[in-house]
């Protein structure tokens, strides 16, 4: 069941005109910001399928920028996101692509700030619900609806068990988990969707475990 809550159907409360092209787009932008962990200074946004065809009329572009500025779907500031981005020192570029993607509403967001760079692919599956399908080249499946944490780590034995043990210690139940790596023994990634919100001190504890590089919380 992709849709779990009745509020996925009666909701979200949002700025019009399109749940998949506006609200979903804002959510993809916001998840990207959450994962980046701070305000990016530049963004390159590639749009595919229906996003590429119709983004101007749906405000998909201002919604994604609004998301990158940490605006929620119902934040009226989405309407002035372009101007707000300029004030916040965020430059951006939209690139409509013709390549065929698995889902008709797909965006690839590449953001950075001079020190770091991040790339994320999100799809808007209808009614404002989204899924993140790729992060920095790692394929994954993240619904953006449950609270989730992202752990970048060295590909060493025991890493996954340590993180799971830490969550278990605080009675946090794992709803969905994905583990992937680029090459054996190289950088790896854990995406853990959890039923409860993970408090900051738990994140810090996970971050201090051996071979863990980065821990990020993705807002519920």
């Amino acid at each position: 069941m992709k849709f779990k809550s009745v509020f996925d159907i009666i909701g979200p409360v949002m700025i019009g005109p399109s749940s998949s092209h506006t609200a979903g787009a804002a959510r993809i932008g916001r998840v990207a910001r959450d994962l980046f962990g701070k305000q990016p200074t530049w963004a390159k946004i590639h749009l595919y399928g229906s996003f590429a065809e119709t983004y101007k009329g749906h405000g998909t572009d201002i919604a994604i920028i609004g998301g990158l500025l940490d605006y929620d779907t119902f934040d009226e500031r989405i309407k002035t996101a372009f101007e707000d981005a300029e004030k916040a020192g965020l430059t951006f570029e939209f690139i409509p692509e013709t390549a065929h993607t698995e889902h008709p509403n797909t965006a690839r967001i590449v953001i950075g700030d001079g020190h770091q760079e991040m790339s994320l692919v999100g799809i808007s599956i209808g009614g404002g619900k989204i899924e993140i399908t790729e992060l920095n080249g790692f394929p994954l499946r993240l619904s953006g609806n449950l609270a989730a944490i992202l752990v970048v780590h060295e590909d060493r034995s025991g890493c996954i068990a340590n993180v799971a043990n830490c969550l278990a210690k605080y009675d946090i139940n794992i709803g969905h988990m994905e583990v992937s790596r680029k090459e054996k023994g190289n950088m790896a990634l854990m995406i853990i969707e959890v039923d409860q919100n993970v408090e900051t001190h738990i994140l810090e504890e996970i971050g201090a475990l051996p071979n863990i590089t980065q821990v990020t919380r993705i807002a519920d």
């Binding site: 700025i15 749940s19 009614g127």
Partner: protein, 299 residues
């Protein structure tokens, strides 16, 4: 996490077995799945109801979209109704005008509550605030209206689609109209089975509806299709309450809708490449709004 129902048959059977309203089954499932309290869940739906109410009010005062394609029709309809000489009746036109009002607000980038999507956000509140004048529901009954609608939308979203890009307008306005019909039946005192019938009749009548927005905007024909969805749901609710049944079971209608959506050409699924969007006037409007040439259109 175990869902109480996965399809309409299970939903209706459970309501019958436990002698509960469909809205109550939806509330109980929400409590189980999210672990949130009943109070919290009712409060959130109350807030969504308020957003809907405010959107209707705003639309009835008159709003216009940036493109200029839509706006002001809700006002025209209300003025027409006040002359007291309507053909389809006051409640029907009230629902239609309030559905249109909501979608005009949506097109103008105002605040709305998606039900189940933004493009179809007018049908459920439009019918609710029209039927309200006839049935005089309590606030809780109005909130329950949304839970009943949500239960049917939940089934469609998980077993078929509620997105125009994936399933055509039948998946958006079709689902919304079915949801409204089912909720009207519960508010009017009908049985869970009759809610299911009203949903099935409504969706059957909207099967095959393509998503062909002019210039890719959620305006033409989306706003008027919400009017059609609202009227369709009222008629279907009356039919179900009269005892008319659906020969094709509700879940099979939903499945048929899904399969029609899968076989529908991409040009007719929100890409603005076919249907009304590809008409000479549709292309002309697109060029007028976004600039550029209409040469080579209809691709």
């Amino acid at each position: 996490m175990e869902f109480l129902f996965h399809n309409v048959r299970e939903l209706v059977d459970l309501a019958n077995k436990e002698q509960k309203l469909i809205s109550e089954i939806m509330i109980e499932q929400e409590i189980i799945i999210t672990g949130r309290s009943r109070e919290e869940i009712m409060e959130q739906m109350d807030r969504n109801l308020t957003v809907m109410e405010e959107a209707v009010e705003k639309g009835l005062k008159g709003v216009h979209s940036k493109s200029g394609l839509t706006g002001g029709d809700a006002v025209l309809l209300q003025a027409y109704m006040q002359k007291g000489n309507t053909l389809s009746g006051e409640l029907m036109l009230d629902a239609v005008s309030k559905a249109v009002a909501t979608n005009e607000v949506n097109a103008a980038m105002g605040t709305i509550c998606a039900t189940p999507t933004a493009g179809s956000a007018g049908v459920v509140p439009g019918t609710l605030f029209a039927v309200k004048n006839k049935l005089n529901p309590t606030r809780e009954q109005m909130i329950r209206y949304l839970f009943n609608a949500g239960a049917f939308g939940f089934v469609v979203a998980n077993n078929a689609s509620i997105s125009g890009a994936a399933g055509g307008c039948q998946a958006e306005v079709g689902s919304a109209a079915g949801m409204a019909a089912a909720a009207i039946v519960e508010m009017a005192g009908g049985t869970p089975e009759q809610s299911s019938t009203a949903f099935a009749i409504t969706l059957k009548n909207m099967l095959g509806l393509v998503c062909d927005p002019v210039a890719g905007l959620v305006e033409v024909p989306c706003v008027k299709r919400n009017a059609m969805g609202a009227s369709n749901s009222l008629v279907a609710a009356d039919m179900a309450l009269a005892g008319v049944t659906s020969r094709i079971p509700c879940d099979e209608v939903i499945d048929a809708m899904y399969k029609i959506g899968q076989t529908m050409p991409t040009a007719l699924k929100e890409t603005a490449q076919g249907g009304l969007a590809a008409t000479p006037t549709g292309k002309w409007l697109e060029a007028k709004i976004f600039g550029g040439s209409v040469v080579g259109s209809g691709n």
